[in-house]
C-alpha cells in the first residue's frame, strides 16, 4: 500500500463532516494547493534569475515560461475554490486581468493600459519609448532613474498623434504619398520632386489648420497649468521638440524635424501641430524611407520642456569618434542657446578632457564669439551681441567642465554606450541636460577590438573569480580605500571604492564611484540595490580587496568576467560599449523585465489590510500569496466548524516557546480528548511531529534574546507573529500543523518567511520521506539571501537533496529508516528555531560557515552516534 492509500484509509475512518466533500478530499486539495504554490514560486524565481545577465535566453523561453506559469496559477485558483466552496471566484478575474497584460506583452503589443495624451516627464522612462519617443524616454530615464537635472516638462504621446491623424482623416493622403515614393524609386526628377512637395504640403496644411481633438486640448491646458503652478510663475515658455519613434535611437533624424524654442504656453498647441507636420516634409519622409522605416511605424510624439534661459550651452561626446583611443571627452560650448552650434552655424569653444578621473582638461581652444542666440521676453529667440568682455572668454570654467564630464560619464556607464549629449548651464550656473543619445562610433573601432583577447591576456591580473558580481560592467580608475566616515566625505569622483564591508552608508557615494569592490558583504543589501540601480560595476565578498588594492593604485575592474587587472585597460571599456547590443537594452531583457513586473512584486502582504482581497492582487505573486493564506485559513475553518463535537477540532499547541501553532489531528496524531482547546507537546504522538517539536524546543537553539537590528519594521513583524496573548485561532491561523500517527504537514510563517514541512515516517523504509521548503519573503526574491544559503548548506550536510532558487530552498530526503528519519525531523525543528532571525546577522559568506559550525555544535545533542541509516535498524 503506498502512502497516499494509507492516508486515504486513515481518512476513511473519519466521518464525513459535510455531505459534499469528505475532509480527506479537502486535505488532498490543500496539499495540491501547496504543491502548485511551490511550483509557481520556483518558476518565478527561475525566470527572475534570467535577468542577472548570466543566462542566454530567447523569446521562445519567455513564451514557454509564461504559458506554463499561467497554467499553474489557473489550477491553483481552481483548487482553492474547491477547498473553499467557491468562495474566491473573483480570483479568476484578478488572474485574467494580469494574464491579459502578460499575453499582450508576449504577443508584442505594447501594453500600457490607456496611454494618456500627455505624460509628465516625471512619469516617463525608457520602457515608454514607444509612447513618448526615444528623446523624451531618455530624458525621463536620466531624470528619474539617474537623478540628473532635466528641465521640467511633459511628453505628448503617440496616442495623441494617432488620434490627430484620424481626426484630420489623413490616412488616404499618407497612403498616396507612400505609393508615390515607392513608384518613383530612385528616379527623383524635378517633376517628381515638385509632385512630392505638393502632395506633402496638403498633409502639412491639414495638420496645421487647427483641427485638434478636443481631449488633447484639455490635456494640454491641464499639463501647462500644473507646471505653471509648480514653478510659481505667471507664464511659462517652452522648448517644443520632435520625439518621433525611432528618432534618437539608432537613427538620429538629425535636423529632419522641427524644433521650436521659447514658445509661450498659449501658443503651445500651434507649436505642437507644426512639429507634427514637420514629419511630413519631403526631406523627413525620404529620410524615413531610406532608413527602411515603414510608414505605419512612424509616430510623432513631442517633447515639451520649460525653456532654459541658458547662459552657456553646447554639445558633449563622451568619446572622440575619430580617435577613441585618445581616451578623451570632447566638449564644445557657446554663450546663450546651443542651437546654432548644433546646426554648425557658429563656431564655439572646444575642450578635450580626460575620461579618467580627475578629468584633467588636456586642451582648450577659445574662439571669438561675437553673437549669441538668446531667449526673448515675449517669446521666441533672437541674436544678441556678446558683451565685449565675454567674447574672448571661455564659456566654461574648469569646475563646470568637470561637473559636465562627470555627469556625462555617469550616463554613459548607465547606458553602456558612448553618448552624444546636449547640455546647458542656466543663469544660476545650474547644469541641465537637454538631450542624450547614443554616439555612433566608427566601425573600425570594432575591428581593432578583434584583438581584445590579446589585450586581456597581456594585462596583469590582481584578483580573479573571487566573490559575487552584483552589477556587470567595466570600470577603470584609481583605488580609494574607505575605512571611515571621514574617508567617505573625501571620496573623489570617479575613483574605485574599495572597502572591507558592504554597508548602507556607502550608498551615498555610489554615484561618485566608478566601481565598487569589497572584502565581505552581501549581494542583496541596500548598497547592492543602489549599485544595480545606477549600474555601477560592483563585486562584493572578494575576501582580499583591501589587502591587494591600495590607495592610488590604477586598476581596471571587469565585473562582467569578475577579474581585476593592474593598470588601466580602457580597451575593455570600448569593447563593452561596442557590443552590438547592451543586454539590459535588448528586446528580450526588456520584455522579460516588463512581464516580471506583472509577476513577481508582492503587494498583498498584510492579511488585515483592505487590499488583502482578490481585487487587490496585482501580480501572480500576490495571487499565490493570497491563495496560500486562504487555503490554510480554510483548512482551519473546516476542521473547527465541522468538528466541534469531535477530537479533530483544531487545538492550540502550548509550549515554552511562542509559536502560536494550531494542530489538527486527523488520525491518532495526539492523545488530546474531545472538547480540549489546547494541547501539550507530551500529547503529541505523531512520529514526525513529535521529533520535530523536540528539535524545535531544544534549549540553545530557540534564541529568546531579541536580536538587535537596524531593520526595525522587519523585526516588529516577527514579534507580532510571536505574541500569543489573546490571539484567536483566526489570527494565528497562519501557523498550522495537520498530523496523524505517522504523518505531518506543517505551514509556518515567521515574520514574512514561510516554511512548509511535509513528512511521513513509519517502519517501512520505502515509505519514508521528508520535504522541507523555505521561502524568504522580505527581500527581492530573485536575490540570494544568505539565510537561504545557510539553510541549504545545513540541509545538504544532513543528506537532503537541496535546490536553491533565489530565496527559495527546497530540501528532500527519503527512504531512511525510522530512527534516521526521526533525527532528521529533530534537525529540521532545530533548523527552524535556529535560523528564524538570522538574516540580519549574516553579513558575509565567511560568517556563513561559522554559523553552520555553530549550528552543528548546538544541534549535536540531537544526533545519535553511529546510526545505520539506510538499512533496518539494529
Amino acid at each position: 500500500m503506498n502512502i497516499l492509500d494509507r492516508l486515504k484509509s486513515a481518512f476513511k475512518a473519519w466521518r464525513k463532516p459535510r455531505p459534499n466533500y469528505p475532509f480527506a478530499f479537502l486535505f488532498r486539495k490543500f496539499q495540491g494547493v501547496l504543491e502548485l504554490n511551490n511550483a509557481i514560486l520556483e518558476r518565478m524565481a527561475e525566470m527572475g534569475a534570467k535577468l542577472s545577465g548570466d543566462y542566454v535566453f530567447d523569446k521562445h523561453y519567455i513564451e514557454e515560461a509564461t504559458e506554463h506559469l499561467g497554467d499553474l496559477v489557473q489550477k491553483l485558483i481552481y483548487e482553492l475554490n474547491l477547498l473553499s466552496d467557491q468562495k474566491y471566484i473573483e480570483l479568476y478575474s484578478a488572474f485574467q486581468r494580469i494574464q491579459t497584460g502578460i499575453q499582450r506583452e508576449v504577443a508584442g503589443e505594447r501594453w500600457v493600459p490607456d496611454v494618456p495624451y500627455i505624460l509628465p516627464l516625471t512619469a516617463v522612462n525608457r520602457d515608454l519609448s514607444e509612447e513618448t519617443g526615444a528623446k523624451s524616454a531618455n530624458l525621463g530615464e536620466v531624470k528619474n532613474a539617474m537623478g540628473i537635472a532635466v528641465a521640467d516638462g511633459f511628453a505628448i504621446t503617440t496616442r495623441a498623434f494617432h488620434d490627430m491623424l484620424e481626426h484630420c482623416k489623413l490616412a488616404p493622403a499618407i497612403d498616396e504619398v507612400s505609393r508615390f515614393i515607392k513608384e518613383v524609386g530612385d528616379d527623383w526628377t524635378e517633376t517628381n520632386e515638385t509632385r512630392l512637395d505638393e502632395l506633402t504640403r496638403q498633409i502639412r496644411a491639414r495638420l496645421t489648420a487647427g483641427w485638434v481633438p478636443e481631449p488633447l486640448t484639455g490635456a494640454l491646458h491641464r499639463a501647462v497649468y500644473d507646471l505653471t503652478r509648480e514653478a510659481r510663475k505667471d507664464q511659462l515658455f517652452f522648448a517644443v521638440r520632435s520625439s518621433a519613434t525611432g528618432e534618437d535611437s539608432e537613427y538620429t533624424f538629425a535636423g529632419q524635424h522641427e524644433s521650436l524654442l521659447n514658445v509661450p504656453s498659449e501658443q503651445l498647441l500651434e507649436a505642437y501641430c507644426q512639429v507634427v507636420a514637420s514629419a511630413y516634409t519631403p526631406g523627413a519622409w525620404r529620410y524615413r524611407v531610406s532608413k527602411g522605416f515603414r510608414e505605419q511605424e512612424m509616430a510623432m510624439a513631442v517633447c515639451c520642456q520649460v525653456m532654459v534661459p541658458a547662459r552657456a550651452s553646447g554639445v558633449l561626446y563622451t568619446m572622440d569618434p575619430i580617435a577613441p583611443e585618445r581616451d578623451a571627452v570632447l566638449v564644445s560650448a557657446v554663450w546663450g542657446l546651443g542651437g546654432p552650434l548644433v546646426a554648425g552655424a557658429v563656431q564655439g569653444d572646444s575642450y578635450r578632457v580626460d575620461r579618467t578621473a580627475p578629468h584633467v582638461v588636456r586642451t582648450m581652444k577659445v574662439v571669438q564669439k561675437p553673437r549669441m542666440l538668446k531667449v526673448q521676453p515675449g517669446g521666441g529667440v533672437d541674436w544678441e551681441t556678446v558683451p565685449e568682455a565675454l567674447q574672448h572668454r571661455s564659456c566654461l570654467s574648469t569646475l563646470q567642465l568637470q561637473e559636465l564630464v562627470r555627469t556625462a560619464l555617469f550616463i554613459e556607464r548607465y547606458y553602456k554606450r558612448a553618448q552624444d549629449i546636449e547640455w546647458a548651464f542656466d543663469e544660476n550656473a545650474r547644469l541641465l541636460l537637454l538631450q542624450t543619445r547614443p554616439l555612433k562610433l566608427p566601425k573600425e573601432l570594432r575591428r581593432d577590438l578583434c584583438r581584445i583577447a590579446d589585450v586581456v591576456e597581456a594585462a596583469s591580473v590582481l584578483i580573479s573569480g573571487k566573490g559575487t558580481v552584483v552589477q556587470r560592467g567595466i570600470a577603470t580608475g584609481k583605488v580609494f580605500v574607505v575605512r571611515s566616515d571621514d574617508d567617505l566625505l573625501r571620496f573623489p569622483h570617479g575613483a574605485i571604492l574599495v572597502t572591507a564591508q558592504t554597508a548602507p552608508r556607502l550608498a551615498r557615494v555610489i554615484r561618485k564611484a566608478g566601481g565598487i569592490i569589497t572584502d565581505m558583504g552581501s549581494a542583496t543589501g541596500h548598497m547592492a540595490t543602489v549599485a544595480r540601480e545606477f549600474r555601477v560595476p560592483t563585486v562584493v565578498d572578494t575576501g582580499c580587496a583591501t589587502r591587494v588594492l591600495h590607495n592610488g593604485d590604477e586598476i581596471t575592474l571587469d565585473a562582467t568576467e569578475n577579474v581585476i587587472y593592474r593598470g588601466l585597460v580602457p580597451e575593455l571599456c570600448y569593447f563593452e560599449m561596442s557590443e552590438e547590443e547592451v543586454f539590459e537594452e535588448s528586446l528580450e531583457y526588456r520584455l522579460l523585465r516588463r512581464i516580471l513586473r506583472m509577476i513577481s512584486p508582492l503587494n498583498v502582504l498584510d492579511r488585515y489590510s483592505a487590499t488583502f482581497a482578490p481585487s487587490g492582487c496585482r501580480t501572480i505573486h500576490d495571487i499565490t500569496r493570497f491563495v496560500h493564506e486562504k487555503a490554510v485559513e480554510e483548512l482551519i475553518r473546516l476542521s473547527t466548524a465541522q468538528s466541534r463535537r469531535r477530537s479533530t477540532a483544531a487545538k492550540r499547541l502550548v509550549m515554552g516557546i511562542p509559536l502560536g501553532l494550531l494542530v489538527i489531528d486527523i488520525d491518532g496524531g495526539t492523545t488530546a480528548t474531545e472538547g480540549d482547546r489546547e494541547l501539550r507537546p507530551e500529547q503529541m504522538t505523531s512520529t514526525p511531529m513529535r521529533a520535530f517539536l523536540e528539535g524545535l524546543r531544544e534549549p540553545g537553539l530557540w534564541g529568546t534574546e531579541p536580536v538587535s537590528v537596524d531593520f526595525g519594521s522587519f523585526m516588529s513583524s516577527v514579534t507580532r507573529t510571536f505574541s500569543t496573548a489573546s490571539a484567536s485561532p483566526e489570527e494565528i491561523g497562519r501557523n498550522l500543523a495537520v498530523v496523524s500517527r505517522e504523518y505531518m504537514n506543517l505551514n509556518l510563517r515567521l515574520g514574512y518567511h514561510f516554511n512548509i514541512i511535509d513528512a511521513y515516517v513509519v517502519e517501512n523504509i520505502n515509505d519514508n520521506y521528508a520535504y522541507f521548503r523555505f521561502l524568504g519573503g522580505v527581500s527581492e526574491f530573485t536575490r540570494r539571501s544568505r539565510r537561504a544559503r545557510l539553510i541549504a548548506e545545513i540541509l545538504e550536510r544532513e543528506g537532503f537533496r537541496v535546490e536553491v532558487r533565489g530565496d527559495l530552498v527546497v530540501g528532500r530526503i527519503k527512504k531512511l529508516n525510522q530512527e534516521a528519519m526521526k533525527t532528521r525531523m529533530k534537525l529540521l525543528g532545530a533548523l527552524v528555531a535556529y535560523t528564524r532571525q538570522l538574516d540580519v546577522q549574516l553579513e558575509s559568506d565567511d560568517q556563513l560557515s561559522e554559523f553552520v559550525e555553530d549550528f552543528e555544535r548546538r544541534s549535536a545533542v540531537l544526533k545519535p552516534i553511529n546510526l545505520q541509516e539506510r538499512g533496518r535498524q539494529p
Binding site: D54, Y55, V56, D58, C450, A453, V456, E561, E579, E581
Partner: protein, 130 residues
C-alpha cells in the same frame, strides 16, 4: 584582422539575441566569431570557409538544424558541432549524437556553461590537429 592561429567559430541561431550575446562573450575569450540568423546564409558561408567549431540551434525556419549540421560534418568532419536548443527531446538528442555532435546544450543556458563546452571542443580540435 583575421588571425589564423585563432579558433574559428560559427554561430547559427534564428533568434538574434542568442547571436548578439554569444559573439562578444566568445570574442573576449579569444575566439574568431561569425554569427548567422539565417541558415541559408550560414550554409553558404561554411561552403567557403572552414570553421573549427559550429554552434547551431536545431529548430529554425528554412533549413533544419539537423540538416545544417549534417552538411557541416560532410564538408569538414574535423569541425566540432555544439547544438543549442529550446526543444530538446530524446529523439533529437539521439539523432544529433549519431551525427557526431560534440555536445548538446538546452536553452536557456549560462554563458559560463557554453564557454566551458566550447573550450573542451577546442581542446579536441587542437588535439586532432597535433
Amino acid at each position: 584582422m583575421s588571425d589564423e592561429s585563432k579558433t574559428r567559430i560559427l554561430v547559427l541561431d534564428d533568434e538574434p539575441i542568442v547571436c548578439k550575446r554569444l559573439k562578444p562573450a566568445l570574442e573576449k575569450a579569444g575566439f574568431e566569431v561569425e554569427t548567422f540568423t539565417r541558415s541559408a546564409k550560414a550554409m553558404e558561408r561554411v561552403a567557403e570557409q572552414k570553421f573549427n567549431i559550429v554552434i547551431t540551434d536545431l529548430k529554425m525556419e528554412g533549413v533544419d538544424g539537423i540538416q545544417f549540421l549534417t552538411r557541416v560534418k560532410e564538408q569538414s568532419p574535423a569541425t566540432e558541432v555544439i547544438v543549442i536548443t529550446g526543444f530538446a527531446t530524446m529523439d533529437t538528442a539521439k539523432e544529433s549524437y549519431q551525427k557526431g555532435v560534440f555536445d548538446f546544450i538546452a536553452k536557456p543556458f549560462k554563458l559560463a556553461a557554453i564557454l566551458e563546452v566550447v573550450k573542451k571542443a577546442e581542446q579536441r580540435v587542437r588535439a586532432a590537429q597535433a
